[in-house]
């Protein structure tokens, strides 16, 4: 049994060479998240308190801000890739699946943008 679609057979084109993109992005983000998430958990638990001044001072340290931005961006990316697979696997109605995937992608983009904005705002406010 051939797995090629009728359209693909007619056009005589090969694959778009993007079949492993999702898989590869998920591996890269997971490798990056191993040190990033451990760093985040350890530094969060090492804070002397969760008072606003303490947290803001922590967020405004240069390396903290950079690592936090990476953690939020890579975390949101990895989360989007993972949730996408879950939706692909369990939601079978095409229209509903597309709708959920659009919402999931937009929600992740919003979370990523808000996270980066918040970190940079605190970091630059203290530098000024």
């Amino acid at each position: 049994m051939s797995l090629r679609s009728p359209l693909g057979r007619v056009l005589g084109t090969g694959s778009a060479k993007e079949g492993v993109q999702h898989w590869w992005a998920q591996r890269l983000t997971s490798i990056a998240l191993v040190p990033l998430s451990i760093w985040f958990a350890v530094s969060l638990l090492s804070l002397p308190s969760f008072d606003h001044a303490i947290v803001a001072a922590w967020m405004s340290q240069s390396w903290t801000a950079v690592l936090l931005v990476l953690f939020v961006l890579v975390g949101a990316w990895h989360s989007q890739l993972g949730v996408r697979v879950v939706v692909d696997d369990y939601v079978h109605a095409t229209g509903l699946r597309t709708l959920i995937l659009v919402v999931v992608t937009f929600a992740h983009a919003l979370v990523a943008a808000a996270g980066v904005f918040a970190i940079l705002k605190v970091a630059f406010a203290s530098a000024a």
């Binding site: 998240l33 002397p48 606003h52 947290v55």
Partner: protein, 130 residues
């Protein structure tokens, strides 16, 4: 269009605990996805100043969020270890049936140790703060 096999075919598999480690990894990932908006809400509150932060802190210390934090400690400990197991599998190692069954137990053990460790540190942090 011919009928093609669709994944996942949950009902055709004989139950094995290796199957549990796989589905738990997915569930843990979903819990961590819930933690992401909570984290960003907290970061936004820090950026919005002290009064917004006080309001957000009150909301974030509700019981439902405490349940989320417990879930995040458990899910993070598990997803981290189970994820590393997947990365090792990706190199082609450890895929034999016996090896996979053994690593399922290793993942369970190590992640429970991490859960206790992170949970203990979180309790210590809470005691230090209040």
């Amino acid at each position: 269009m011919p009928q093609r096999p669709l994944s996942p075919h949950l009902s055709v598999y004989k139950f094995k605990y290796t199957l549990t480690t796989s589905i738990l990894n997915r569930a843990a990932g979903l819990v961590l996805s819930l933690g992401l908006p909570a984290l960003v809400y907290w970061l936004m509150a820090v950026a919005s100043g002290t009064s917004a932060y006080t309001r957000a802190s009150a909301l974030l210390s509700l019981g439902v969020f405490k349940l989320l934090y417990l879930g995040l400690v458990v899910a993070f400990s598990y997803h981290l270890v189970a994820g590393v197991r997947h990365l090792i599998w990706d190199t082609g190692r450890g895929l034999e049936r016996d090896q996979a069954r053994r690593s399922a137990w290793v993942v369970t053990g190590v992640s429970i140790v991490l859960m206790v460790l992170f949970g203990y540190c979180a309790l210590l942090a809470r005691a230090r703060i209040s």
